[in-house]
C-alpha cells in the first residue's frame, strides 16, 4: 500500500493507468456475463453511433475504484461511495488514466469527497465523485 497522505482539499489521488484491449473487453464480458454486442461484436457495433466496440462502463469504473482502493481501502470499502457518469466511449487500444483530488472534507476530518475522472489522451471519458469514510481507516 502507498504511504497515506494527510487528507485536505487539493490532496491528489495518485494516478493509475490501464490499457484497454478487445481481449480485455472480451474477458470482462465473460466474467460479468455482459455480452452486449456493443462491447463484443464488431459488426453490430459498427452500426451504432459509436462505430466500433466500446468497453463496458463498469470496466472503466473498476479502474477508478482500483485507484481509490489502493489509497484508502478501509475508508472506501466501509461507508464510502463511488459515482461516475460515462461521458465518452473507451475503445480498444485506449490508455485510460484515472486521477482525482480531494475537494471537500468534513470539519472533524471524518469524511472526504474526491472528484475523480478517467481520461484518454486528455479527453475525459468518465467523471464523478468518491466519498471516503475516513474514521474507518485503520492503515
Amino acid at each position: 500500500m502507498d504511504q497515506k497522505p494527510i487528507l485536505r482539499p487539493g490532496t491528489a489521488l495518485p494516478p493509475l493507468t490501464r490499457r484497454v484491449t478487445q481481449d480485455l473487453i472480451d474477458a470482462y464480458a465473460d466474467v460479468s456475463g455482459d455480452h452486449n454486442p456493443i462491447h463484443v461484436d464488431p459488426t453490430f457495433a459498427a452500426g451504432t453511433r459509436f462505430g466500433r466496440t466500446i468497453a463496458h462502463g463498469m470496466l472503466t469504473m473498476a479502474f477508478v475504484a482500483q485507484a481509490v482502493s489502493r489509497w484508502y481501502w478501509d475508508a472506501f470499502s466501509r461507508g464510502g461511495s463511488l459515482e461516475l457518469s460515462f461521458l465518452a466511449p473507451v475503445t480498444p487500444g485506449d490508455e485510460v488514466v484515472m486521477d482525482g483530488e480531494i475537494v471537500d472534507m468534513a470539519e472533524d476530518g471524518s469524511s472526504a469527497v474526491l472528484e475523480v475522472r478517467a481520461t484518454v489522451a486528455g479527453r475525459t471519458v468518465a467523471a464523478g465523485k468518491a466519498t471516503l469514510n475516513v474514521k474507518e481507516e485503520t492503515g
Binding site: M1, R18, L24, A27, Y28, D30, V31, S32, G33, D34, N36, P37, I38, F44, G47, T48, R49, H56, G57, M58, L59, M61, A62, F63, A65, Q66, S69, R70, W73, D74, F76, S77, R78, G79, G80, S81, L82, E83, L84, S85, F86, G128, T138, G139
Partner: protein, 138 residues
Amino acid sequence: MSLTYDQLTIGMRFPSGRFDVTDEVIARYRAATLDDVELPGDGGNTAPLMLAAVFTRAATNSIPGPRGRVLVKQSFHYHRPVVSGDQLTVDAYVEDLYQKRGRNYAVVRTSTRNQHGELIVEGLSTTIWPPSDGQTEN
C-alpha cells in the same frame, strides 16, 4: 422473455438474484479488470469493490433486456467488503423512467445483502435503452 423499454414501469421489481462469491470468481474478476491492488489483510479472498457490478446483475439480468443498452451513470455505496464464501442476495427495482433528447432512460436501484442479512452495497444505474421497435439506437 426479453423486456422492452415500453414494458418497464416505475416500481417494477426484478426477481431476487443469488450470487456465490468464490476464490475463482474473485481471481477471474481481478484478471479481467487488471486489478493488482493489494488489499490490507488480504489473503486473496477479499473481492474488489467493483465486483458489485457483476453480482448485482444476478437480479437485473434475471429478465434479459434488448441488445444495445448503454450505461451512462452508475453509483455504488459500499457498506462492507465482500469475501470469498459470501452468499449474496440482490434485490432490484425500477426507480425512474424518463425520456431526454429522444432517448429512453431507465434508472434501476439495487441492494445486496450477505448470508447474515447484512447490507453490503447499494447501487443506482442509469441506462439508455434502445427503441422498443427493436431498432438499434445510433
